[in-house]
């Protein structure tokens, strides 16, 4: 798959939208303040366990209407890495 856009090109890039979505979801899942989440940190550091991570991929699939590897957040365990992977590997479009 082709990379759709340069992640740093603007605020509305798919990669940033995915990051924002993940921050919001993870803050909700773990009941923590979204501003305390660093996209570069491993998600396990915030207490996201293995099954939560898999469940969250299911939510991502729903949101993006796309089939993703269920272990995506195990293999790319930070928000930054996961978002970059999705944009690089999949034809992601985010409204």
């Amino acid at each position: 798959m082709q990379q759709l856009q340069n992640p740093s090109s603007s605020e509305s890039t798919p990669i940033l939208k995915i990051q924002a979505w993940l921050v919001e979801q993870i803050a909700d899942v773990l009941s923590i303040d979204p501003t305390t989440i660093d996209v570069k940190q491993p998600l396990t550091r915030y207490g996201l366990d293995s099954i939560d991570a898999v469940t969250l991929v299911g939510d991502l699939e729903d949101w993006l209407d796309l089939e993703l590897p269920s272990t995506l957040l195990w293999d790319y365990p930070s928000i930054e890495k996961a978002s970059a992977y999705m944009v690089e590997e999949f034809d992601v479009t985010v409204d």
Binding site: V29, L30, P42, L43, T44, D49, S50, I51, D52, A53, V54, T55, L56, V57, G58, D59, E61, D62, E67, S70, T71, W74, D75, P77
Partner: protein
């Protein structure tokens, strides 16, 4: 004629003999003695290897004879109805599926050889004393060194930790690796330096007292690279997928145990006279047992459907196996408790009435709902997927082409006359992405029932032996109850979709209750699917075809949901209950499995030979006589420590 996939179970039955006869290999008396002595059943397990049963755990492309999980669960029931010590100890062989799933060709060949030729047994070393079912939190480490890894730490409690040749060990290979920091090893103990590992003492347990329930510890234990199974870091994924396989198979242990508690209770109830009446003729006892039998048939539909579905809807097994592993053992535990009321105080005795087999089966089976993920773990797996299941069901209803594919898959999963495709473990997925054919097929199944009803003089009527019980009535009732399933599922889906979703381990008590209800609705659908796809199959018999059992089953399952009458006609016809009781007594008298597929069990040597309809009377071609087998069985397993 018995369905092909049940013939192996019949052959094993005949080879083992009637367990009520004290001189049979795994008689209730003998297995009770082993249990009382807390003595591992070495001889009986050696007999099973000599008989060649291990071959049916090895796929044909790996040199074995395994082709179908439906066949597998049938023979596990044959073992389990005799003794859970033996069946659980032998069936740890199903962990070999980890190797069939993820091993290299060389590893597969090696394990196949070990099982077939050297009669090696195995155990699964995941749990740890301090971490329970929290696999990621485990403390056993595997540190990379030149040419291999050094294992350190203890696994406990592990079934067959001591008496096994191969140990599947889950260990952390990367301290910072999170969910990808665990790896799985297929450790052949004979290749280890014996000074670097040790076994923990046998744990005294409430049931399966003859089991080797112990543990294993490692101290800088070197394991070569060749023992790593799959990729480094993929241990958790493999482990969780492996559980999907074994969870569904565990239900067969409970089914075997429930068959025995029912059989021994009937041995009492048909002979015992009180107040000038036989116990079985007393209304309360009769209905208690016929209801218990219905619950057993419901479990059959769930577990046989799942066993076949493995081959068809493999990627949905995070849902199917969780339903099966929760629903079947828990339902059958209740069946045993209900049945015990009829047996009375004898259910509690250790050396009376069929060698005290009731209390033993009750004790032994109590662990099944805990094995390989407890009931709570399985419900949790469902809760986490429940919202997606609800959403996916809404989506798929708008896509007729996808619904048609669901119907095709359901036919393959539930139609017992159809061969199943080869099981492909690489199709297992950690989540089902909202798919559950059984529930997504509800509208299509209702449409089929309606079409059957409309056809009026359909094949159903031709099968009807008794004009007083018009099959159209049965169809109408099944349809009414199928609509109740749909209404309840719709209501639950809306509730789930609209309510706040909790992740992780903060699930409410109510969420667990909803997950239990999902299992009951799934079970109800499995019953309808089993009937609709097999009612014309001659091998299933008239009782199955008439479908009264189905109406009673659905009524029992759905009565948990509503206080108001489920049927417009009011109560269930009394004749339905009576016909269920008659079938139960018929199977008991004929020594047949209490099942929707009532295959022939070993009969007493004094009893008349099995009917000519059964192919079961022939002994296994490679089967030595019982006398020979017993003498072979004196040799201990070569791999045992």
């Amino acid at each position: 004629m018995t369905l092909t996939q049940y013939q192996l179970a019949e052959k094993l039955e005949q080879a083992l003999g009637n367990p009520q006869q004290a001189d049979s290999l795994m008689s209730f008396q003998h297995t009770a003695e082993l249990d009382e002595a807390e003595q591992f059943p070495h001889e009986e397990i050696a007999w099973l290897y000599n008989w060649g049963l291990q071959n049916y755990y090895i796929p044909t492309d790996c040199g074995g004879k395994f082709t179908s999980f439906e066949e597998f669960v049938a023979f596990v029931r044959v073992l389990a109805r005799r003794d859970l010590n033996i069946s659980i100890a032998f069936t740890t062989l199903f962990w070999s599926f980890l190797t069939w799933m993820a091993g290299s060709d060389e590893q597969k060949e090696k394990l196949s050889h070990l099982m077939r030729e050297e009669h090696t047994a195995m155990c699964l070393a995941y749990s740890e004393r301090e971490h329970g079912s929290d696999l990621v939190g485990g403390g056993v480490t595997a540190t990379k060194v030149e040419g291999g890894y050094l294992l350190n730490g203890e696994k406990w409690p592990i079934n067959r930790a001591t008496i096994s040749g191969v140990t599947f060990v889950l260990a952390r290979t990367d301290p910072e690796g999170g969910n990808r920091g665990l790896s799985l090893f297929m450790v052949e103990k004979k290749d280890l330096d014996t000074s670097t590992y040790y076994n923990l003492p046998k744990i005294k347990t409430h049931g399966i007292r003859a089991a080797d329930m112990s543990g294993i510890g490692f101290s800088d234990c070197f394991v070569p690279d060749s023992m790593l199974l799959g990729q480094e870091g993929h241990g958790l994924e493999l482990g969780l997928k492996g559980f999907q396989i074994t969870r569904a198979l565990c239900a067969a242990f409970s089914q075997g145990a429930a068959d025995t508690t029912m059989r021994t209770t009937l041995n009492f109830a048909v002979n015992r006279k009180l107040y000038n009446k036989t116990v079985i003729d007393m209304p309360h006892a009769r209905r208690t047992l016929s209801n218990a039998f219905i619950d057993m048939l419901i479990c059959d539909c769930v577990n046989i459907g799942a066993a076949r579905g493995f081959h068809v809807a493999t990627d949905q097994f995070s849902v199917w196996s969780a339903v099966d592993k929760y629903f079947v053992p828990v339902t059958l535990e209740q069946v045993m408790k209900d049945t015990s009321v009829v047996l009375g105080s004898r259910f509690y005795m250790r050396d009376e009435h069929d060698s005290g087999v009731f209390q033993k089966a009750l004790r032994d089976s109590a662990i099944i709902s805990m094995f390989d993920g407890s009931s709570v773990v399985n419900l949790h797996v469902l809760i986490l997927q429940r919202r997606q299941l609800a959403k996916a069901r809404v989506r798929i209803r708008k896509k007729p082409e996808k619904l048609a594919v669901v119907q095709d898959r359901l036919e393959q999963s539930f139609s017992l006359s159809q061969p199943v495709p080869t099981f492909d473990p690489t199709r297992l997925e950690l989540i089902s992405r909202g798919a559950d054919d059984v529930m997504q097929g509800i509208e299509g199944t209702i449409a089929k029932l309606e079409a059957l009803k409309k056809s009026g003089d359909s094949a159903v009527d031709l099968l009807r032996p008794d004009p007083a019980k018009p099959a159209q009535d049965v169809l109408s009732q099944v349809l009414e109850l199928a609509h109740v399933i749909r209404e309840e599922l719709d209501a639950q889906d809306v509730l789930i979709t609209e309510s706040a979703f909790e992740h992780g381990h903060d699930q409410s008590f109510e969420s667990f209750e909803l997950a239990k209800q999902y299992c009951q609705l799934h079970a109800a659908m499995a019953c309808i699917l089993m009937w609709i796809h097999n009612r014309e199959l001659a091998e299933m018999g008239d009782f199955f075809a008439k479908g009264e059992w189905l109406v009673v089953s659905l009524h029992r399952l759905l009565s948990h949901f509503r206080m108001t009458p489920l049927l417009s006609s009011g109560e269930l016809p009394a004749a339905y209950h009576e016909n269920v009781a008659q079938e139960l007594l018929r199977l008991h008298k004929a020594d047949k499995m209490f099942s929707i597929v009532p295959f022939q069990l070993a009969q007493s040597q004094l009893a008349p030979p099995p009917s000519t309809q059964s192919s079961s009377a022939q002994s296994h071609p490679n089967q030595p006589s019982t006398q020979e087998a017993t003498s072979h069985a004196t040799a201990p397993e070569p791999q045992l420590i």
